[in-house]
């Protein structure tokens, strides 16, 4: 290998290695960015790396160099302090007094980085075997630095996508370090082995990362279901509720802010619906049916103002709600039962919210179930009584058979059916039966985050018949199945519970903040909807409000959030609300799938043209690389020796043509090779001879193959010696003669 090539390679390696180290250092210091000076650290980093190179070039022994390296920073500090004393004497004052402090503020924390950067640079230059070890150690540091970002609590970067991009750059950097190290070259003898070794060293980097991320993700998946009330679906960077619910033995609660809701009116309880889980299977529990027999709530927010089908249920009033999503799936539609119109808005610049939209719902009249004639006005009382008597007159659900079967499927659980029958034995009316079941669960069971593990396989039986304690999913499952077992259509719904305590209060004085409600992850909730003829699906929340003995958290979970952050978000909304405009991405209802596909395709094209400066070069590079490297890839994977040599030769010719050293008309390959040898000093003749032998001779054997490869090595060496790295890169990217038949 020529000296120039080695030097270029080592400079490239030095830059790549230190780029990776610098990345790690910067990210470590992001944790303490409010007290450290990045310029100081960057300058110190560069000086440290250069010091390591300098000491290594002196060919000192490792321990001697280490001692010098150890003493050097303190010596520099001493010099700096002498200088500061001088400045103090010349310009006395408190600012000069502070020079020592400001120096040491960055000096001492940097010492740890100094040690690593110096050591790694020294060892990498001294021992080439250290490079893959360094890559492994860097991976360990990376995990250590980002450990507190687990469960996707990304705090070091403004957005998780920047974090992902940074990681990708780091990984690519390390892969290039391994490739550039020349370590792989020294270890291989043939093309296939080279590929295997290359893959091996990449695996050295990738596999531990993969294992760690897999374990983290695995843990994340398991913990996030438990950690977010047992109802949340693990997604990469945002929350969403799960379209299926399983009963867990223990759950935890998290107070991450999910969204802000605004709706007028006096404080009361709101149940924000996300998914309707109407399908039931004893093994799977309740889950969302993709195509239920009855129209259920849209789960995706349309991109334009949309009127949903209105079944026209009675005793409903229109209620307007606004949703400001902070940390929730932006395509999700959340609304009070049942939405009739959704109006998405275009978000303002620099918005703290990922999505803003309004929904108009027709809500069940604003009194709690069960109905009790309270202290309302005479008029309201009359309405109540009228509605109540209408409900009482219902004897059975009026639905078609398919729907009835779907909404009364209870898995043929006889124990549950017996319980339901026992409870409703003395009750005649449809509505009374529902209330009986509701009140039975509400007043005879306890709320608990730790219902425990069933000794059999049935968690619900464990809840209903043994421990009598659980969280919302248990209560919802139980009520839904009890109703279903006596032919009352019921379904489980998941979403968020918003109680009066969720209304954002003023901080300093008593009072609430303009009808804004905060919705946090711990408010994820499951409840039941029961079908009543003409009145539709009415909500029941059978979850007990009595804590299980021995448990001591506040299930009415008053507010735990930071008022300053909430106030800032609300101020932002109020400042921008007059600038909100409706999103008008329209499409007709008759649009076919093909048309939608076409529109999606056009949208994709639009995005590509918006970022043309990135996409066009990327596409060009990919195409050119594919064409040029294709023969080489074939050389690596094909087993037949003659074909291997043919492809290797084709690859070599690609390189040469990239330099615009093309074969003239009527020139034979050997003449061409001789001309190259004479004019460009390329040792191409030997390799060309073996190529021709491989093509035309039937006696091309293993020995010829080895010699051909040796000739190829000679050629490549001569090519590299006469072509600097920049020209080699340009040659690869040169599109001239790409499609010419060169052989």
């Amino acid at each position: 290998m020529s000296t120039r090539y080695k030097t270029q390679n080592s400079i490239l390696l030095f830059i790549l290695r230190n780029a990776a180290l610098y990345f790690l250092m910067l990210n470590a210091f992001l944790h303490v960015s409010d007290i450290l000076n990045p310029l100081y650290l960057s300058v110190a980093f560069v000086l440290t790396a250069l010091t390591a190179v300098f000491l290594e070039n002196l060919k000192l022994r490792f321990w001697t160099a280490s001692i010098i390296a150890l003493v050097l920073p303190f010596f520099l500090r001493m010099l700096a302090f002498f200088m500061f004393y001088g400045i103090q004497a010349l310009i006395p004052g408190h600012e000069t007094d502070l020079l020592f402090l400001f120096f040491d503020k960055d000096f001492f924390p940097f010492l740890a980085v100094y040690a690593v950067v110096w050591l790694f640079n020294f060892l990498a230059r001294r021992y080439s075997h250290f490079v893959p070890i360094e890559v492994l150690l860097n991976t360990v540091f990376l995990i250590f630095i980002f450990w507190n970002q687990a469960f996707y609590h990304i705090s070091l970067y403004p957005h998780p996508s920047y974090f992902a991009l940074a990681l990708l750059v780091f990984v690519l950097c390390e892969i290039f370090v391994l490739l550039t190290a020349g370590f792989i070259k020294e270890r291989t003898q043939g093309g296939g082995k080279k590929l295997l070794v290359t893959l091996g060293y990449c695996a050295l980097l990738v596999i531990p990362l993969f294992i760690v991320f897999y374990l983290v993700l695995q843990d994340y998946h398991e913990q996030s279901a438990k950690g977010f009330s047992g109802l949340m679906k693990p997604t990469l960077f945002q929350f969403d509720l799960s379209p299926y619910v399983q009963l867990q033995s223990e759950i935890e609660l998290s107070d991450d802010l999910v969204l802000l809701m605004r709706t007028d009116g006096s404080k009361q309880k709101y149940l924000l619906r996300r998914y309707i889980l109407s399908a039931y299977d004893p093994k799977r529990g309740f889950f969302r049916e993709e195509k239920p027999p009855q129209e259920e709530q849209n789960v995706f927010l349309p991109d334009y103002a949309f009127d949903f089908p209105d079944p026209g249920f009675k005793a409903r009033t229109r209620q307007l709600q606004e949703y400001y999503l902070v940390n929730f799936d932006t395509s999700a539609l959340i609304a009070l039962n049942y939405p009739v119109t959704s109006i998405p808005y275009k978000n303002w610049q620099g918005s703290s919210f990922t999505r803003v939209y309004r929904v108009i719902s027709k809500v069940w009249d604003k009194y709690d179930i069960p109905l009790h004639p309270g202290t309302l006005s005479l008029w309201n009382s009359l309405i109540r009584r009228f509605t109540y008597s209408s409900l009482q007159r219902i004897r059975r659900a009026e639905m078609d058979k398919e729907q009835l079967d779907h909404y009364t499927e209870y898995g043929q659980d006889e124990q549950i059916q017996d319980l339901a029958r026992t409870l409703t034995d003395n009750t005649e009316g449809y509505y009374e039966k529902v209330i009986t079941i509701y009140e039975y669960l509400k007043h005879n069971y306890y709320y608990s985050l730790k219902p425990g593990i069933s000794s059999g396989e049935n968690q619900l039986h464990h809840f209903l018949f043994q421990v009598k304690k659980g969280y919302c999913s248990y209560f919802a499952f139980a009520m839904a199945l009890l109703c279903r077992s006596i032919d009352i259509p019921a379904r489980v719904v998941v979403g968020f519970y918003v109680g009066p305590y969720s209304e954002v209060p003023q901080f300093y004085h008593s009072g609430e903040l303009l009808n804004f409600y905060e919705v946090r992850a711990y408010q994820a909730h499951a409840w039941v909807e029961v079908y009543f003829n003409q009145f539709g699906w009415i909500e029941f929340d059978p979850t007990s409000t009595t804590l299980a003995p021995g448990e001591d958290f506040d299930i009415f979970l008053g507010r735990t959030g930071d008022e300053a952050d909430l106030r800032r978000l609300i101020e932002e909304i109020l400042k921008n609300q007059k600038n909100l405009s409706e999103s008008t991405t329209k499409r007709t209802e008759d649009e076919t799938n093909l048309e939608r596909l076409g529109k999606t395709f056009l949208r994709g094209i639009k995005i590509i043209f918006s970022y043309w400066y990135f996409f066009f070069p990327a596409v060009y590079i990919i195409i050119v690389l594919l064409f040029k490297y294709f023969p080489y890839i074939l050389f690596l994977i094909i087993r037949k020796k003659t074909k291997k040599i043919k492809n290797l030769y084709a690859w070599s010719v690609n390189l040469v043509y990239g330099r615009a050293w093309v074969r003239v008309k009527e020139e034979s390959l050997l003449e061409y090779a001789k001309r190259l040898q004479k004019e460009k000093k390329l040792k191409f003749l030997g390799f060309s001879e073996y190529y021709l032998k491989a093509v035309f001779s039937s006696g091309f054997n293993a020995k010829d193959f080895s010699k051909a490869k040796a000739c190829y090595k000679e050629f490549i060496t001569s090519y590299r010696n006469h072509t600097n790295i920049l020209l080699r890169v340009l040659a690869i990217l040169n599109p001239r003669f790409l499609w010419r038949n060169k052989l």
Partner: protein, 602 residues
């Protein structure tokens, strides 16, 4: 009977009237949506708490009637009432563009700036108000208050004295002027004006204001080392009106006496009323001083997470000073936790390594908060010096430079020269400070003899905590033991967080002979790890405390700590351990005995 003709004419008339009405409705409806209509509709919406509707109406009205300020002010007032000061400010400023010379609008803008802790801008607007209405005493008072918050004390003094000269002495002017003099360390003037403010407030039947002035008076008494007078003033404040401030002051004086229960009671009472986080900070400081470090850490973490600072308008502090205090406390807590981890008895190598790693993590956290504290102290110091408040400026710079003895000592001496001239009683405190900066055991011992043994027990405690390591280095073992005994007597929780352990005569009785030798070795090692010096048979001078431990055949562990001097039982307990191995049991029992009983306030 009506003839057909009449019937028809009646019908036609009715129809004409209906038609007329229908034509008039569009005209009338425009009339209906007048300013007054919007005003009334908005008020109705606000009464019904339909805020979305109210806001929408106000925005519409603003657009329809751009020349009037009515709707800007209604919207601004709504935001102001709801503590959305940034939004309120925008609306008030929009109103100002329409009517630049409205004192209400200008005053509200000033208040908003003040609540957003933008004091300079607030002052600009107060000046505008006074330019329009020089007789607005309330504005003068607020302006003086804001001057004080940004250390422009001379400006505040001048403004308030002129106002008093012009309008006569009024309660609030006297109170604010007294606070200014307090910051200027002019004790007599401050005391005089506080007393006047109290008299005037009581005469005006405003006990709440009088309570505030009593509290402020107690602060200056405390600054001037008149602790008994401070205590009396604090109690007077509480007697007049139950407020957080009086309770906090009383608590802090009991804290100085190292009366844990008394101080805790007062701070908890204060927390009940407190809109600001000061009571929680006091409780965190109390827990830290008395060794309840994990509780202290939880408290300080919760306080640091609270980022709303609008309460600060009503307190003579600013964000820099506030966070400086928090960071200092956090640094001390984490330093204490690091020591605690280091000295915790453990079983096995894995636990030891885990403890070391945890200790290192705590040290890193302590370093982080210490750096933040130093930066905050520098900023505060600079601000004080710019405002010519040299005493406080020097003290802040001294605090920032504690790692650089020469620099710290220079500022300490400068501050001492100023303060001891004003307050001779401050000399012992400065002796202590010098001793700490110079790491001088002689100065520390001198300070301990000078400090008030009743009111300044906290400083004595702090002095002992720093003196004891020096005594060990100097080989003054007996003196060291006496100092430790004294420290334990004042504050049992103040030892381990400084890496100190109580010297004891150990009497260990283990009934199970099969484990006796091993268990004895484990207990002794663990007590030594926790910093305790154990008396030898031939040498027990200075060992005031005897520790009797009995571990019976049923593995019931009982202990008694007895004070030989008074022959009184200091601590006792009965414990059992469910750990598997002998070493783990010994570690568990030692840990619990030390950290739950011996090194805890009763």
């Amino acid at each position: 009977m009506i003839h057909n003709k009449q019937k028809y004419s009646l019908i036609i008339s009715a129809a004409a009237m209906c038609l007329l009405f229908v034509i008039l409705i569009p005209v009338l409806s425009d009339e209906l949506k007048s300013e007054d209509w919007y005003y009334r509709q908005t008020q109705d919406a606000l009464s019904a708490e339909n805020y979305t509707q109210a806001l929408s109406l106000l925005e519409q009205a603003k657009a329809l009637y751009p020349d009037t300020t009515l709707f800007n002010i209604m919207l601004a007032d709504l935001y102001y009432r709801k503590e959305l000061y940034s939004n309120a400010l925008t609306e008030y400023q929009e109103a100002e563009t329409k009517i630049p010379a409205d004192t209400y609008i200008l005053n509200q803008i000033a208040f908003c700036y003040g609540l957003l802790n933008q004091e300079e801008e607030a002052l600009t607007y107060y000046e505008k108000v006074l330019a329009l209405d020089p007789a607005d005493v309330e504005t003068i008072d607020w302006m003086g208050w804001v001057y004080q918050k940004i250390y422009q004390l001379k400006n505040a003094e001048e403004l308030l004295l002129k106002a008093i000269e012009r309008f006569g002495l009024q309660g609030r002017l006297a109170g604010t002027l007294a606070s200014v003099y307090a910051d200027l360390y002019e004790y007599e003037k401050a005391k005089y004006y506080y007393q006047e403010a109290i008299k005037l407030s009581l005469a005006d039947n405003a006990p709440g204001s009088a309570a505030i002035y009593y509290y402020n008076l107690s602060i200056i008494e405390k600054i001037f080392y008149n602790y008994a007078a401070a205590f009396t003033a604090a109690q007077n404040a509480i007697d007049l009106q139950e407020r957080a401030s009086g309770r906090r002051m009383k608590g802090s004086l009991l804290h100085m006496q190292m009366d844990f229960q008394g101080a805790k009671r007062e701070y908890e009472n204060a927390a009940f009323y407190d809109d600001a986080p000061y009571s929680k900070i006091n409780l965190a400081e109390l827990d830290k001083d008395f060794g309840n470090l994990l509780t202290a850490r939880e408290r300080i973490t919760a306080i640091l997470d609270q980022r709303d600072l609008s309460w600060m308008l009503y307190y003579s502090t600013n964000t820099n000073e506030y966070y400086e205090r928090l960071y200092k406390l956090a640094a001390e807590i984490y330093t204490g936790l690091a020591q605690l981890e280091w000295h915790t008895p453990r079983a096995g190598l894995i636990e030891e390594v885990g403890g070391i790693i945890q200790s290192i993590i705590y040290r890193i956290q302590a370093w982080y908060y210490k750096e933040k504290y130093k930066l905050a102290a520098i900023n505060t110091g600079r601000a004080y010096l710019e405002a010519d408040n040299h005493l406080n400026g020097y003290l802040e710079l001294m605090e920032a430079n504690t790692d650089y003895k020469d620099v710290a000592l220079k500022y300490c001496l400068r501050a001492k020269n100023i303060e001891t001239l004003l307050i001779p009683k401050a000399i012992p405190s400065y002796t202590l400070l010098q001793g700490l900066i110079l790491s001088s055991p002689d100065l520390l011992e001198q300070a301990l003899t000078l400090l008030d043994s009743y009111w300044q027990k906290d400083k004595i405690c702090h002095g002992l905590q720093n003196l004891i390591p020096f005594l060990e280095q100097q080989g003054k073992i007996k003196k060291r033991r006496l100092a430790l005994n004294r420290l334990y007597g004042i504050n049992p929780g103040g030892l381990i967080q400084y890496g100190l352990g109580l010297p004891v005569e150990l009497f260990l009785e283990i009934d199970d002979s099969s484990i006796e030798k091993q268990a004895r070795a484990h207990f002794i090692n663990m007590l030594k790890k926790a910093g305790s010096e154990l008396a030898k048979d031939d040498e027990n001078t200075g060992f005031q405390y005897q520790l009797y431990i009995k571990w019976d055949i049923n593995r019931q562990f009982s202990f008694q700590l007895i004070d030989k001097a008074t022959n009184k039982l200091v601590r006792s307990g009965i414990l059992t351990s469910k750990q598997d191995s002998l070493q783990a049991q010994c570690a568990d029992l030692s840990r619990r005995m030390l950290f739950e009983y011996i090194y805890r306030e009763k």
